[in-house]
Symmetry: C2
Subunit: 423 residues, 2 copies
């Protein structure tokens, strides 16, 4: 490691013409960015190039003019289209050498399946002079790590199941020792059912103060209809200091948002609701109309949810609401199927018929048709019934049919969460 400098700025280059179609894009770079950020290395440039050696070599040169660490994914296969080895060697001005041990390993891999190695696979034994060879437990293409003139180049295979373990290994063995000392830690604070602007307005005052702290807290917001996530990170000299700095920031957010935060430890809303049910030994039943089973399906995405999800009723027709839940037909005439009264009757009926402690009723207009002036598309009533009590809320969501369904399921899980936190 004599004279080795720590990389600070990384570039990521995904290789493959299939990544330049309208149907696919590079997703490896997100995992790579996250892992590099954890070591305090920033990504300053990402690109996707096809399978032309000269174009790829040009992209490598351009990337190395901007970054001191270049990570390439893909193009390490055995075919003529796989030109990453050749292009990097060309760009660095280094020769390619056939590596007998790799060729031997490839032959053994084929022999184990009773096959002779195809001649084209010999290309995968070519190594850039001076490179460290990175074994591939899940495929034939080995990776390569090259340190040249204060810059570093990392060649990884494209398939994620081959790429990910190799990335973890090379970051631990080759990169972490170069950047020792820096340590990036993260926390994610999640809020359901509030728009990004509402969250930003209230959190904004904190961001300025965080940037001035030692160590400073960085914040990045990820918003979708129905959920806002605040991603906090810190580069700290020790785990204890990083943890304390993040906990202080999380506590400040909790003070601002009170009960609106549902998760500070990475759990999803359905996991949080499931854990609350399990802790109380309660079982839940769901009665859904406009969400069509989505809320129940989300709760059952959690392993072990059969411990607390007793049943769900998707009462899409009024007849089903009456037959399965005992919703009185007079309620439809008096209030309409989308009403607080029907939502309450659905929740109460589900709780009684399933013989569970807590139940939810959801009825609304997902659209695009079915709206009226009084009850436009996006109107949803949600009720929760529990031992000796209940609550009901009316919402007005925006967006297309699937966005309304998701936001309604999010609101239903949030009402369940808030109730379960009180008992």
């Amino acid at each position: 490691m004599h004279g080795a400098t720590a990389p600070r700025r990384a570039a990521i280059l995904a290789v493959g013409s299939e990544l330049l179609t309208p149907f696919r894009t590079d997703s490896n770079s997100l995992a790579i960015t996250s892992a590099l950020n954890d070591l305090g290395i920033r990504v300053v440039w990402k690109a996707i190039v096809g399978d032309q050696q000269d174009e790829l070599a040009g992209a490598v040169r351009h990337a190395l003019s901007l970054a001191d660490l270049l990570v390439l994914t893909g193009g390490l296969g055995p075919t003529d289209d796989d030109v990453t080895r050749e292009a990097v060697a060309e760009a660095l001005g280094l020769p390619l050498e056939e590596h007998e041990a790799i060729a031997e390993g490839l032959r053994a891999r084929f022999a184990a399946r009773g096959l002779e190695m195809p001649a084209i696979n010999r290309r995968q034994a070519k190594v850039i002079a001076g490179a460290t060879i990175l074994p591939n437990a899940n495929g034939t293409a080995p990776g390569q790590w090259i340190a040249a003139g204060g810059r570093y180049v990392l060649l990884l295979p494209g398939p994620p199941r081959e790429m990910r373990p190799m990335l973890a290994a090379v970051l631990a063995a080759q990169v972490a020792p170069l950047v020792k000392g820096a340590r990036v830690m993260r926390r994610v604070v999640k809020i359901a059912g509030r728009p990004e602007s509402w969250v930003e307005e209230r959190a904004h005052q904190l961001y300025g103060a965080w940037r001035e702290r030692v160590p400073p807290i960085e914040e990045s917001t990820l918003a979708s209809p129905g959920q806002v996530e605040l991603h906090l990170s810190v580069v700290a000299p020790s785990e204890a200091e990083g943890h304390a700095a993040l906990q202080r920031a999380v506590d400040e957010l909790l003070a601002v948002f009170e009960g609106e935060v549902f998760s500070t430890d990475g759990r999803s809303l359905e996991e949080v609701v499931g854990d609350l049910l399990r802790r109380r030994g309660w079982r839940v039943a769901l009665a859904e109309s406009c969400t069509g089973g989505l809320a129940c399906s989300r709760l059952t995405d959690v392993p072990g949810s059969s411990d607390y999800v007793e049943r769900g009723f998707v009462t899409y027709s009024n007849r089903a609401k009456t037959e399965l839940l005992g919703v009185g037909e007079e309620l439809f005439a008096a209030h309409g199927a989308v009403s607080e009264a029907v939502a309450e009757a659905m929740a109460a009926g589900a709780r009684a018929r399933a013989d569970v402690e807590i139940a939810v009723g959801i009825t609304g207009i997902a659209g695009p048709g079915g709206g009226s002036r009084e009850k436009p598309v996006g109107t949803v009533a949600i009720a929760v019934a529990w031992p000796g009590g209940g609550c009901v809320e009316r919402y007005r969501f925006t967006g297309d049919r699937q966005a309304v369904k998701f936001q309604a399921s999010q609101a239903a899980l949030t009402l369940l969460r808030k109730r379960l936190e009180q008992v």
Copy 2:
């Protein structure tokens, strides 16, 4: 248009440091690629760069060494971080000029909301010398179209709702006249419940012949657990020739795959099932265990599905299966809850209790726990009941809990489709 050459090779450059975090990536480029491909223009390079003017100018120069059309998105806002105008002017060696009509339009936009234009917004009135100004109906940042030395540069805003209409307008007005004659047409053939390798093995023989045809058919495969899509495209001199060439290829695929293809016109599986139900005037009920309501939720993703989805039963517990569907308790003891016998009883019970023409029953082990040697995780039994008959199938899906749930819902909708096509 005197002397103007048609662009054939495009590069796409997304600008913005937020696109270099682990949480976001550029998605505009997929819509841009699709629209360019439709005009016969191939994308050869895509990149994401941050908000540094010199790095962005370098990336513009690099892109123009590879492509004759460069599309940039983002960095057209009013703040110091918005440097796309300056960087492109620098790379092209052209001056920036303040455009009084744009400044006037910006002032009017703010005035309409009773506001004075902030001084920083004047930056948005800067135009590269000779550029065509592209109006922005949904925001303050105008786009720019520059033809310089046989190369073309297009500046678009980053927010998709501003970018998309501007892209459509500039492609129609500026780009289409340059590439007149070429016309790309597409068809998508969708297959459910078969792995990619199974589909490729059978379709592969066709691809070679397609490439030799006049006009040649290009094929691209998009696979996920439970669904394979074959995307066919053709560059044809006329709409009639393109349509005929694609129809011939689609017919060849239909001959190879017989009943396995569920869609050749873009419709999703849930839309296809819905249309079959509507055509027959039948109503459906679903009885789900391991899918937790997912199959019913997918069917109700389709607008108007309340016409044919009567109800769903999410019978997660055995008690619910017995109470709601009349599944005999002796079946659990004799066959287990995950069995063909229970799936059949669920489907028959759902059909009788909901009083509908057709019903489906789904029971399985989504995992990760609950498997046994005889019934490993991923084992799912699915039954369909219809007037005077029924069928049942047993599957063994792989993947995590959510992958098993999705594949089971896909198989259930496929069984429904196949039966509805026969009656």
